[in-house]
Symmetry: C2
DNA sequence: CTGTGACTCATAGTCCGTT
DNA sequence: CAACGGACTATGAGTCACA
């Protein structure tokens, strides 16, 4: 991986887990299935599931697909709050 | 229940260009070089340059590295404004 | 200091399934 | 409906020499 200048480089796994938790929570608020969400986003069912489990590190375009598919801002997906 | 349909599932290239423009503008406001920014983020110089040119589609972790390196929220990088 | 093309390697993302 | 697996292709990560 990258060069690492010791400072604040750390917790990106937890960011991925947070993303997954937020995604799952918000999706459930809309009462839709992973499959329905995937269809709305133009992504695959199994991929959305993996993101919710924090197992994937989505690209910007995938993040935007998800936020558009849910009609929410990116910050709500990533940080859990609408900043 | 929100929205969606293929109408707004399109222009992700423009989102990548917007990201690059925002990144370059913000970096210049800090008066630092691509090289210095890259070092702060733990990324490679040429990679940061390619993102600024809209040639890369960074993952969430790369986006977080950049936003942390600059000390700004993700939304400012992606949308150009602190939402 | 930055842009570019090319490259390797890892993983994003899809698709077929079963539990 | 969701988790998970295996196999696969496309693309991102990360680097370099050089312009």
């Amino acid at each position: 991986m990258p060069i690492n200048n010791s400072t604040h480089i750390a917790n990106y796994d937890s960011a991925l887990r947070a993303l997954g938790d937020n995604l799952k929570r918000i999706r459930r608020q809309f009462s839709i299935s992973q499959e329905q969400l995937a269809e709305r986003c133009g992504l695959h069912r199994t991929y959305v599931g993996a993101v919710e489990r924090g197992e994937r590190n989505p690209s910007l375009t995938s993040l935007l697909r998800l936020s558009h598919g849910l009609g929410i801002p990116l910050s709500e997906l990533v940080y859990g709050v609408d900043q």
